[in-house]
């Protein structure tokens, strides 16, 4: 009888032992898979930040808060800073201060305005201009998948995920809810889809873009609602994406931070800070995942070792009637593979079923507004580790087979 057949018969006939072993593997794989995908979800939070620009200008606030809000779409409606400041920077105009005199702003490579003015299906609608497409410092420009950039009033360019999710295309009309802080206003503000942004793999895929003129006109209409927060009326911005030569950043920073109501941060520095902060948690998460997997592997090793130890007499008989050591080792390996496959399949199903519920529980702690969809296949490293652990567990009895003294084993029974 071939080793494969011996393995299938042993696997299918030792029902209780097989069930326990498969269950141990399944629970270990499911728990590790869920924890690992939570870890990947928290990582994805940082991966989806739209960190292509050199610097970010916003109202005075913590750098991390600014970056998460502007580039991650997280947090409350942000504060304003005057549009005139942006225009001055953009025009490279010399600034005049009563006490300091005239100061020439640092030369900028580009400046892109951002003003949030509405919400569409939990996605932000941002007023900007065409410089947005060139707002990535070191990489190629953003491109349009279809249509044109929203330049005229009443137009909107969709992020790729929004278009795909809602099945929208150029020419369609959508209704957005004006948003100037607090709750969105329950009014339907129509916008016509002029284009769809090609996939950026960032938060921009889940954002809608209209013209800065459109944004300002909406804010004007609802100015009384935010008057307390803006002494500049509706001519404001939330953020500006800035690209500047590294050697010019310090002078720009000094100008903005010390002599205006706004603040500028270097995006790369804040992103690193975020990753470092999150990294500690991520490292812990990875440690716990590894721990769970090791515990599960040890349980499997123990179960398999006991299972195969109990077969040592039968193995001695098979060797006595002429089975080679390698045939018996092949039997154990096949059986280990069957156990691993069944356990991993069951574990993957459990992982798939339970992960969404688990994510709902922990979603708030690992990052508000998480849209990252970490699919089941992301758990593949866990499955590979579980397969290796199971096959390693089989090696222990396999080695014992090769060392078994058949004469002593048969006499012992």
């Amino acid at each position: 009888m071939k080793a494969f057949r011996l393995a299938t018969l042993s696997f299918s006939r030792h029902r209780f032992s097989t069930f326990i072993t498969v269950l141990a593997i399944a629970l270990s794989v499911a728990a590790s898979g869920i924890l690992y995908r939570v870890y990947k979800t928290s990582e994805a939070r940082f991966d989806s930040l739209a960190t292509g620009s050199d610097a970010l200008i916003g109202a005075k606030a913590g750098g991390i808060e600014m970056v998460l809000n502007a580039l991650g779409g997280e947090g409350e409606y942000p504060a304003f800073f005057p549009y005139t400041l942006f225009q001055t920077l953009q025009a490279q105009t010399v600034l005049t201060f009563p006490t300091e005199g005239r100061v020439a702003p640092a030369k900028l490579k580009s400046a892109t305005p951002l003003l949030i003015f509405a919400i569409y299906e939990n996605a932000r609608v941002i007023g900007t201009d065409e410089t947005f497409l060139q707002s990535r410092s070191q990489r190629a420009s953003y491109a349009l998948e279809s249509g044109t950039w929203a330049k005229s009033a009443g137009e909107v360019t969709l992020g790729s995920e929004i278009a795909a999710l809602k099945g929208l295309k150029v020419g369609d009309t959508i209704s957005v809810a004006p948003w100037v802080g607090g709750e969105p206003i329950r009014v339907e503000h129509p916008l016509k889809v002029s284009g769809v942004l090609a996939r950026t793999k960032t938060q921009w895929d889940r954002t809608l873009f209209s013209s800065i003129t459109e944004a300002h006109s909406v804010l004007e209409r609802y100015e009384p609602l935010f008057r307390a927060r803006s002494i500049w009326g509706a001519k404001v911005l939330n953020f500006a994406l800035i690209n500047v030569e590294p050697e010019n950043f310090e002078s720009l920073q000094s100008l903005i931070n010390q002599r205006s109501v706004a603040q500028i941060v270097r995006v790369q520095d804040v992103s690193k800070q975020l990753r470092d902060l999150g990294g500690v948690g991520a490292d812990l998460g990875l440690l716990v995942t590894s721990f769970v997997l090791i515990l599960g592997a040890l349980a499997v090793v123990s179960t398999l070792a006991t299972r195969f130890e109990g077969m040592s007499a039968q193995i001695a008989v098979l060797r006595a009637i002429g089975y080679r050591k390698r045939e018996l080792v092949q039997w154990l390996l096949w059986e280990g593979l069957f156990l691993a496959s069944s356990g991993i399949l069951a574990g993957a199903c459990l992982d798939g079923l339970l992960f969404p519920h688990f994510l709902k529980l922990v979603g708030q702690t690992i990052g508000a507004g998480i849209n990252a969809d970490i699919g089941l296949l992301e758990s593949a490293p866990i499955w590979i580790a579980a397969t290796c652990a199971t096959l390693l567990a089989v090696l222990i009895p396999a080695v014992r087979i090769t060392r078994q003294k058949v004469h002593d084993a048969l006499r012992g029974f």
């Binding site: 009888m1 018969l9 007499a313 039968q314 002429g322 050591k325 058949v406 048969l410």
Partner: protein, 215 residues
């Protein structure tokens, strides 16, 4: 080793040592068991009868001397060749634990080399177990389990049949039935049984005390 004729077995200055202190268990006189012999070896428990059978099956290497089967020293064979020797030329029947409990009677018979399902069912009918061919052996009585072990011997092409206390756990009727089947199975082959069961002595033409074989 050829497979078309019975094989003679001979021992030359064999000594077996066991245990951590490598103490001598027994030393055999040089002697030969001719092919086609039907030999019963008697002796008390612990004398080394099982070890003697294991020497012939190549399951144990002597500390000194050689065991020749068909004029070849079997302990000079490689691990794989030794397994092949057991598979092709030797059939073993133990007192207990002959069979894998999670397999049926047919599947246990098919553990022997190249036995088809039809051949297995045929030999099971020869030992009177055709109705129980699909039963798990754990559900069979001890006597029925021994008959399955004999069926496996019948299904194999072994020229040397070694049986270690095959009837000690059986009642009189079952002991007699199993012995009759073993005798049938060993026609034209070498049958060596070690046992202290006096009930089976009448089945043998040659009976030796184990002590006679040792120095």
């Amino acid at each position: 080793m050829t497979s078309s004729r019975a094989m003679n077995i001979s021992f030359e200055n064999v000594e077996v040592r066991v245990g951590e202190r490598n103490e001598s268990l027994f030393s055999l006189k040089s002697f030969e068991i001719p092919s086609g012999s039907r030999l019963l070896i008697r002796g008390p428990s612990g004398a080394g009868k099982t070890t003697f059978l294991h020497l012939i099956a190549g399951l144990l290497e002597p500390a000194r001397g050689a065991v020749y089967v068909d004029e070849k020293d079997i302990n000079q064979l490689s691990e794989d060749r030794l397994a092949q020797y057991r598979r092709d030329h030797v059939a073993l029947v133990f007192q207990k634990l002959n069979l894998l409990n999670h397999l049926t009677a047919t599947e246990n018979v098919r553990l022997a080399k190249n036995v088809s399902a039809e051949s297995a069912d045929h030999v099971l009918s020869q030992v009177g177990l055709s109705a129980k061919a699909s039963e798990f052996v754990s559900k069979l009585s001890l006597g029925e389990q021994q008959r399955v072990a004999v069926a496996r011997v019948l299904a194999s092409s072994a020229q040397i049949i070694l049986a270690d206390e095959p009837t000690s756990s059986l009642d009189d009727k079952n002991a007699s039935d199993v012995m009759k089947l073993l005798i049938t199975a060993s026609e034209g082959k070498t049958l060596i049984v070690v046992s202290h069961d006096q009930r089976i002595e009448s089945f043998f033409s040659e009976i030796r005390n184990f002590k006679e074989l040792t120095q």
